[in-house]
Amino acid sequence: MFAGFMVNAWEVATIVAVVAGVVGFFVVLRGSAFPAHAIPNGAFAGAAGANLIGLNPLVGLGAFALLAALGIGTLGRRGRRDVVTALALVLMLAIGAAFLSQSTEYEPEIFSLLFGEILGVSSAEILPVAILGLACVIAVGVLYRRLLLTSIIPEIAAARGLQPNRVELAFLIVLACATTMTVPVVGALLIFTLMIGPPAAARSFTNRPGFALIVSVAIALVTVWAAIACSFETNWPVGFYVGTYSAAGYGLGRAYAAWERRRGGQLGPDALIATLQSATS
């Protein structure tokens, strides 16, 4: 599975996992699971539309992802955010359905856009993916402290002169960028599981935000690599493994946290080290 044509898939998958781990850390912290699901789903309508007028589907994907992010960010101030997310999502899906109804053809590419495809990654795609990925990670880095403050105590953030609405909008745009660029391997529908499963699990293993971010990336990498390996062996879609392994990671994280709590311990690296020591002695 490490043959020449697979190398591309491994490289792109690694980039995707890093971005998912970094951005996903804040998705979980901010409770933004729904937008993380809605943005790529809605973006898919853009891919269908781009297909219709002969453009590269990824262009339509990116445009609609951005539109979704802006819609949710601006409308979400006035209404309930989950309502706005739901309505924006179905509006975009309905537009996508309208696009699809106009064309009599149907590209099989759409399936791989949705659920992931490891063989379809060309080496030409790696550079744009890497650049976009880097941009996302840098954006999160720049906003890091503001994101932390507005996520955890937004009331105080507002008093300090930060504008939580603006930070939210910026984050949604980064989310849109991250979900768009991960399409090549993982697929638009399942990238969001990579952004919630590993980061949620990571929280159980450390108390420090910085470490949690790193662990989140680590778990995402393991998840994606395992998914690719299994997909290669069985020929089943990558998305299937990403969805189930993310869920498994989440489950393990919860189980470990519950077990730690029952032992009366405090979660954190000390506890983890102590557990490993007692297990190996």
Binding site: Y144, R145, L148, E155, I156, A159, R208, P209
Partner: protein
């Protein structure tokens, strides 16, 4: 030479849906003073604090901080809001939350300097939070969380500390501890404190001044000046009695729902 007031609220008015919440509230706070903002629930204390912080614009009136008009980016105000919910799932230690008080508004990832870490340690020591500094914020008790939030507000050394109902959900022992802590901090660091509460008795030992708010109006001064039958009766617009017993204060009115200031005490009938 008298110091200029660190906080100057003049003639603030605001109305929601045609109903006047604050109708000309004025008071001053000087350096290092401990001021209690007392009034029952729903009377507008939170609104007043939000106006002072610049989160809400009044219909008229002015707020000046250190002589300058209020701008929302002023760092001379520390703030501990009401009802902060801290999730036990959030990976953040008390120490990390306090450190964000120093630089949470900055861009970038931020490796903290030795000096910054020392500032954090100092303030954790001052609020007596060292023993749980490395615990998750969401796992702390109400009183412990309160200390952490106070440390977060104080670590940047503001001139004024605003607290919105910090004592509301605490057990009596924690109430005493927090009040004592705030008094200590106030005198050690010269921080003026404005603390809102619906019950003034816990604050009587430490309060320098009181701002008593009701029906949109406020009376401010020392406790002896304000907490008197004639002053409060004028404020309420109907007769109230102030009883002082064993160092505690009881404000008593005719039994009407709006006049019940002390929700954990039955309303006495005065005939």
């Amino acid at each position: 030479m008298i110091d200029p007031p660190v906080l100057d609220v003049s003639d603030v008015r605001i109305a929601f849906s045609g109903r006047k919440i604050l109708d000309g509230v004025s008071f001053e706070i000087r350096k290092g003073e401990f001021t209690g903002l007392i009034g029952s629930n729903g009377v507008g204390k939170t609104t007043l604090l939000r106006i002072i912080l610049g989160l809400q614009r009044p219909d008229s009136g002015e707020v000046r901080v250190l002589g300058a008009p209020r701008s929302s980016r002023s760092h001379s105000l520390g703030y501990v809001p009401q009802k902060v919910v801290l999730d036990a799932d959030v990976p953040m230690r008390a120490r990390d939350l306090v450190a964000l008080g120093l630089d949470g508004h900055r861009f970038g990832f931020g490796r903290r300097s030795k000096h910054q870490r020392e500032l954090v340690n100092e303030i954790l020591h001052d609020v007596d939070a060292e023993r749980f500094a490395d615990s998750r914020v969401g796992n702390l008790s109400g009183g412990e969380q309160q200390r952490v939030l106070i440390a977060h507000a104080l670590v940047s050394r503001p001139q004024v500390l605003l607290l919105d109902e910090p004592l509301a959900n605490l057990d009596p022992k924690s109430v005493q501890e927090i009040v004592a802590l705030l008094h200590k901090v106030s005198s050690e660091h010269g921080v003026a404190i404005l603390l809102s509460a619906h019950e003034m008795n816990a604050l009587l030992p430490v309060m320098d001044r009181i701002v008593y708010v009701t029906e949109g109006r406020a009376a401010s001064g020392t406790t002896d000046e304000v907490v008197r039958s004639d002053v409060l009766s004028r404020l309420y617009g109907h007769h109230v009695d102030v009883l002082k017993l064993h160092g505690r204060v009881l404000v008593v009115a005719e039994p009407r729902p709006e006049a019940d200031h002390l929700p954990d005490h039955p309303t006495l009938t005065v005939s």
